[in-house]
Symmetry: C2
Subunit: 426 residues, 2 copies
């Protein structure tokens, strides 16, 4: 089998890259392969589908902000129902946190990010179910929980249906004549020496080593360019050829609740049109929750850090204990309406965590482009990253993001990386 | 078992850290554990034992330059026979390479690095066995080999006996009352929640997770502070607690030659007192060789990049094919005296490669300090890194390196890392 461009991975990043590559190279054959039976069945579909333009790093801001504009275009102009909901993000800060993040908030505002600061009373009025003042009972003290002093509301953010998003990209890609092959598992990248001699043991150290495609369960696929967009699984392809995926996989869990007690969270005032709870980040332990308007449920997650292993799992599972023993105790102090509730559903996926700067990587080796290390924000940056991959492939110095802003391709690379460290991480 | 400071790993980094920690904290108990039966038996003793102060990054320069001064102090003042030999490094450049590296050479010279540029004829006079002009035979063209145009000689560099070095650190550490426990394998770091409740499942997300020591084959060792200095094996300790070791392990091989044909390499003129071949880097494929004066042999290695897997191996082996099929063909063009020679000995170790900036990492989590990702230059930076670990432990902003220069501790961390990317890598 042969193609001009082979894309490994039919998640949000792979399909966006494939779409933009095909768009820029209509004469080239572009083939997307994935081991799953359809698009987005790795970690894309397990994502909470949240997006925000609230990043302290200029890089992350540009990637996300332009991708959010593209989401609107996709839904409003291209007619894809990706269930785009601008519910907003709401960061709840204790007094001390607020002091610490104030310079970052100011910088984001100067950059043009729409942000609204809410005082304790405004928060209380908007979300009657939220307890801002935790008092000083023994448990609160033991757990180190702090009262909410302020909220930071970011309107250009919310959530979408990640599954619908990848399907929309796939549809647009197929319309352009792109090809997909599901149920095709890549076993390894093929590395050849140039000039090729056909001798066992190549590539030798004096040859240029070049990626010439991939060995799959359905045979070898030769390609001029291979795009590695396999998310957390990218390391299983890149490690054997000695290329660093610049990320480690970490499990993230989501718990879903549906209960009459939570109806107040669907009746929030003055924050968004839907009157629903924005994606709300608690002051402690990066616990967050959001209303899922279309199904009338509330989703709960947590960006746990130290203590949560780095480990590549094929089928990570949510742990009920994690909710009952860990998250619940934090959650119920700020949202007592969760008292005695248990999740009706839960699942887990994996983040590809870049510990150094929290920004994605787009880098190349001869015959190959790698896009990944998206650190849990791949979906909300997928359109910009797809365009950057296409610009990299075309040998352009800058990519044009949706809406016309320009982005220096090498900024996301390894050799000449220029990325500010992100400090708003969840 | 209990100690104040537990150091995991008795390699160059672990023992240097232990020594400087004990020196700064004579009242504290400092215990070094290692699964091997003695010091430096992981990758330290497998190293080529080379050192140089020729780095383009200011950080790497400071770390190595001050450590080299310490080596001299160790040998001349403290009386340790670490077989320090200032044979020098000699980088051979093609015309095009020379053009490319000229700005970096100028920057290093401005910084005060002693460097000497040699023309083709000077090289020829110094090393009669070196072929600078490769001609244009078919093989040379096929292999993309280029003639040598210039050489860059760096006198403040050379090699030492890595085994003697770690034993010297151990001796100094033991003199101060430090303790070692060999044959003690660490199975995992112990992570506890604070405040500790004694409930299964800790640490919960709302607790501060703290490393309180390590579980070993000889029982649990409790420590106020645990230093992780386990080289490439650090990831097996850090992954389970979700801390990124910021490096991937890559095999490096060394081949040893002893033959009357190589006697000319022990009779080099005008470069060093010993009249022996400096550590010489060929213009192609990062192949290097050096005279090992004390045993009258020549060591050959290669810093292979793409194509050489990232993979953690407990007992990596040298591959004879790698010499005969890959290195030999490059080597023999520049040094025909190797014609038909086979290595009399060979072995392999692993580099802990930091792909992003090629500099080491010293970072912390509650109760723990990690030092690693030294990217193959851990031995030549070991003294500075040990001092930086000790300064980190003392909560100092700056470390004083040997000779008095100061170094900002956070520069090697993750959260506030400030490191120039290294471009002189072998």
């Amino acid at each position: 089998m042969k193609c001009d461009i082979l894309v490994i991975g039919a998640g949000a990043l792979g399909l966006s890259a494939a779409y933009h590559l095909k768009r820029g190279n209509p004469e080239k054959s572009v083939l997307v392969v994935d081991r799953h039976g359809g698009p987005g069945q790795g970690n894309s579909a397990k994502s909470e589908g949240a997006f925000r333009n609230t990043f302290t790093s200029e890089t992350n801001y540009l990637l996300a902000d332009s991708t959010i504009d593209w989401f609107t275009h996709m839904q409003e102009d291209l007619g894809h129902d990706i269930k785009l909901g601008f519910l907003g993000y709401l960061w709840l800060f204790s007094e001390e946190q607020h002091r610490r993040v104030t310079p970052a908030i100011r910088r984001m505002m100067e950059r043009g990010v729409e942000l609204r600061e809410l005082g304790k009373e405004e928060l209380q009025d908007a979300i009657p179910d939220l307890v801002t003042d935790l008092g000083d009972d023994e448990e609160v003290e033991l757990m180190g929980l702090e009262s909410v002093e302020t909220g930071l509301f970011c309107p250009k953010s919310g959530s979408l249906d990640a599954d619908a998003l990848v399907r929309s990209y796939e549809e647009e890609f197929l319309k352009l004549g792109g090809e997909v092959s599901y149920g095709t598992e890549v076993q390894r990248l093929v590395l050849k020496g140039e000039p090729e001699l056909g001798i066992p043991g190549e590539p030798f150290v004096w040859q240029e080593a070049r990626i010439t495609g991939a060995e799959t369960g359905k045979g070898e696929i030769e390609a001029e360019t291979t795009i590695v967009a396999a998310g957390v699984w990218s390391e299983t392809l890149l490690d054997p050829i000695g290329v660093d995926a610049m990320m480690r996989p970490k499990k993230r869990q989501l718990f879903v609740f549906k209960d009459p007690k939570l109806e107040g969270l669907m009746d929030v005032k003055g924050l968004n049109e839907e009157g629903a709870l924005p994606l709300t980040v608690l002051p402690k332990s990066a616990v967050f929750l959001k209303a899922e308007v279309t199904e009338g449920s509330v989703w709960l997650g947590c960006a746990d850090d130290i203590g949560r292993p780095f480990d590549l799992e094929d089928d990570p599972q949510a742990e009920e204990d994690y909710y009952t023993d860990s998250l619940y105790h934090v959650l119920v102090k700020y949202f007592p309406c969760f008292a005695d509730l248990r999740p009706m559903n839960s699942w887990a996926g994996q983040y590809a965590v870049n510990s150094l700067d929290g920004a994605p990587v787009v880098s190349g080796e001869p015959g190959m482009i790698y896009v990944g290390a998206a650190s849990g924000s791949g979906i909300m940056k997928c359109d910009a990253l797809g365009r950057i991959v296409a610009a990299f492939h075309a040998g352009e110095e800058e990519a044009e993001l949706y809406g016309g802003r320009r982005f220096r391709v090498a900024d996301l690379g390894v050799a000449d990386r220029r990325v500010e460290r992100e400090t708003f991480i969840i």
